[in-house]
């Protein structure tokens, strides 16, 4: 058993709570950005560009405001958990709301 296994003890309940709050922020912003891009009638590349820019912008905002630029205090490995873990899930959510608003407005 490595040394920091004893000293770096993590509280699993707090890890779960932080994940849930991050997921809430990412979900709601991605859906809204999808609606926006549908209203703007963005085509394929522009649409995905808007998703990517919006997703990264929200994550950076999240790290800045809610994690006070110290995501290490709240996430085991921040880069992975904030940017990559929910990426596919948010992408499919974005595609859904994008297609929806594109069809309704179009």
């Amino acid at each position: 058993m490595s040394e920091d296994m004893f000293s770096q003890v993590k509280s699993s309940t707090n890890i779960q709570i932080n994940k849930q709050r991050l997921l809430y922020v990412q979900d709601i912003t991605t859906l809204l950005f999808g609606l926006g891009s549908g209203i703007l009638q963005l085509e394929s590349l522009q649409g995905f560009a808007m998703f990517f820019i919006g997703f990264c912008f929200i994550n950076l905002l999240y790290i800045g405001i809610l994690c006070k630029f110290q995501p290490v205090k709240y996430y085991v490995n921040p880069l992975q958990e904030i940017f990559m873990d929910n990426f596919v899930r948010e992408l499919t959510g974005y595609v859904m709301s994008w297609t929806f608003s594109y069809a309704i407005v179009g």
């Binding site: 004893f6 000293s7 003890v9 509280s11």
Partner: protein, 300 residues
């Protein structure tokens, strides 16, 4: 300082989760009872069902403590009509009502019958345990009961339910009362194996080891010196582990302060402990602040 609804709800939630109400002295009990009465009758949208039920459970026992028997029976009847009789908490409430309306012997017979007939063969994980615990406490104040009778009862129950933390803690306290420090330490160590991050248990083990060391010191027998150092070192280890798990834990830092005072080569830890106690006086809640200040003055 208006804390509003969330403040009161959070406070009640902590009290009911940690069962603090069983430890309050009468004045605080009365105050808690009135506040809870008020809170339960106000509509709080964020109060979920789980919390609501446990608050009613707490209210039942508050009414029992304050000898408001009729109101307690009303609460029991509401819960029983809603959920039926067969749940651990309702069994316990029924036994409590038997205790207050009739007397302990009737309650003891009720528990014995229900265990022998039903619960031995078909029980959910909690009913058997809770009823047996209540049985032990009732048998405590039966006249013919001697201290080691209680211990024997506890050990029997522990043999049936080896991983119940409360039983081990109760056994540890009883051994400590009888002065058998080693057995008490064995029981509290069980706590630490069951709940690895339980810094309160680590502090408790450290406390008893420290008292054991003091007792050895008084005896002044020749080979006590090494034993004294070993026990003190073990006490320090446990206290350090409890503080490693919880930064602002008052009891942990106080123990380190006292233990390192006895030792001569641990000056660094003495300073760290004093530093953190000082931090507690600045940051923590009022009661911890006062105790921390008192300890710091006493030590310097």
């Amino acid at each position: 300082m208006t804390k509003g609804l969330t403040g009161t709800r959070e406070r009640f939630q902590t009290i009911v989760l940690t069962k603090l109400y069983t430890q309050l002295e009468p004045k605080a009990l009365l105050e808690l009872h009135d506040d809870l009465e008020l809170y339960l009758h106000t509509k709080d949208p964020e109060r979920n069902d789980g919390l609501e039920l446990s608050l009613w459970d707490m209210m039942f026992y508050l009414k029992v403590y304050l000898s408001k028997d009729i109101e307690a029976t009303v609460i029991y009847n509401n819960l029983r009509d809603k959920f039926g009789e067969h749940s651990p908490n309702l069994y316990l409430m029924k036994v409590t009502l038997l205790q207050i309306n009739k007397n302990d012997t009737v309650a003891i017979n009720f528990i014995n019958n229900s265990i022998d007939q039903v619960l031995e063969f078909d029980t959910d994980p909690y009913s058997y345990l809770l009823l047996s615990k209540r049985l032990i406490t009732m048998q405590n104040n039966v006249k013919t009961n001697k201290p080691d009778d209680t211990l024997r009862h506890i050990m029997e129950l522990i043999e049936k339910f080896p991983i119940d933390p409360e039983l081990w803690w109760y056994a540890g306290e009883k051994y400590f009362e009888l002065g058998l420090f080693d057995q008490a330490i064995y029981c509290f160590e069980e706590l630490v194996v069951l709940m690895p991050f339980n810094y309160v248990a680590f502090a408790k083990i450290s406390e008893i080891l420290y008292l054991k060391a003091l007792k050895l010191d008084k005896k002044k027998i020749k080979n006590n010196k090494e034993l004294f150092d070993i026990v003190l070192q073990e006490a320090l280890d446990n206290a350090l582990r409890s503080v490693e798990l919880s930064e602002l834990y008052l009891k942990g830092w106080t123990l380190i302060l006292l233990i390192t005072k006895q030792m001569n080569d641990k000056k660094q830890f003495f300073d760290i402990a004093r530093e953190n106690l000082d931090k507690i006086t600045r940051v923590s809640n009022s009661s911890d602040k006062i105790t921390a200040e008192y300890i710091l003055n006493k030590v310097n």
